[in-house]
């Protein structure tokens, strides 16, 4: 993002979304508590969407990493950069996945009277959570060799695309779903007051995602720089 103007925009946009969720959007018909419960969608839906978008971003950088590895001129900085971006996107995906699970569970508790229903979408999001967790577990197993860790976790990220695609598109259709698939995916059905809040919410979450990812990549670079400095100091001592 770079400029502080966009960070300011994000700050105000989220304030607007929070205000709008409770004051601009009308109570939705057909939801519990006179539609109050439906207000959580302004936070739940972007989180759920970003929990899968993050995976796609991570895969993109994983592919880029392996593609750079196969190329002739290997620049270390470019290789590290793609690895960090892939890992950072995976961490954010994990975070948004947890948030989506929690907000979804709260909503389910209010709307359907039970916090966990084994609805196909609930099932697929916990499996997604597991996929993210196993990626990070794989990364922790290769602490001594960052190049190997980068390469193998990129391979895992790409192979795990298949289960994650199945989770997003196939699994919810294989099993009967309780989720309202049409109300939100069809813009014509969504009332104007909802659009006024939901679209800015998506924008806010996009900005938040980019910012968090930049921050995480920067910290990873700092950690690696410190590790290299220590290695050099050890070499110098010998």
């Amino acid at each position: 993002m770079g400029s502080s103007a966009l960070k300011g925009t994000l700050g105000f946009l989220m304030v607007y979304v929070i205000y709008g969720a409770f004051n601009i959007a009308h109570g939705a018909i057909g939801f519990a508590e006179k539609g109050i419960a439906a207000r959580i969608i302004f936070f739940h839906v972007p989180c759920a969407v970003y929990s899968s978008v993050a995976y796609m971003v991570a895969t993109w950088y994983a592919v880029k990493h392996l593609w750079l590895l196969g190329g002739t001129n290997k620049s270390n900085t470019a290789l590290e950069d793609s690895d960090y971006k892939s890992a950072a996107a995976m961490e954010l995906g994990f975070l948004f996945c947890i948030l989506a699970t929690i907000t979804g569970s709260i909503f389910a508790g209010v709307q359907w009277g039970s916090f966990w229903n084994w609805d196909p979408r609930e099932t697929s999001i916990v499996i997604m959570l597991l996929l993210y967790a196993s990626y990070h577990l794989l990364r922790t197993a290769f602490t001594t060799d960052p190049a190997k860790r980068a390469r193998l976790s990129a391979v895992y990220a790409i192979i795990a695309v298949i289960p994650s695609i199945y989770l997003i598109w196939v699994v919810p259709r294989v099993l009967h779903t309780m989720h309202p698939t049409t109300t939100l995916s069809n813009p014509a059905d969504t009332s104007l007051s909802y659009k006024l809040v939901l679209y800015p919410s998506f924008l806010a979450f996009t900005l938040l995602f980019i910012w968090l990812m930049q921050l995480r990549v920067s910290t990873m670079k700092l950690i690696e720089a410190r590790r290299k400095r220590r290695l050099h100091a050890m070499e110098a001592q010998r």
Binding site: K7, G11, V15, Y19, A21, N23, W211, L215, S218, L222
Partner: protein, 45 residues
């Protein structure tokens, strides 16, 4: 108490949480930026 006031009160809780997160992030962002700048200067030396 009218419904409008209730809605505003309900709004306040997530708002405070968000502002807390936001300014926390801004602080981290500043710190990371400073460290990165130091790092690149060190490499030049």
């Amino acid at each position: 108490m009218n419904a409008h006031l209730t809605a505003l009160l309900v709004t306040a809780v997530p708002l405070i949480v968000w502002l807390g997160i936001y300014f926390y992030l801004v602080r981290i962002d500043k710190a990371v930026r400073r460290l990165l700048r130091d790092e690149s200067q060190e490499e030049q030396l």
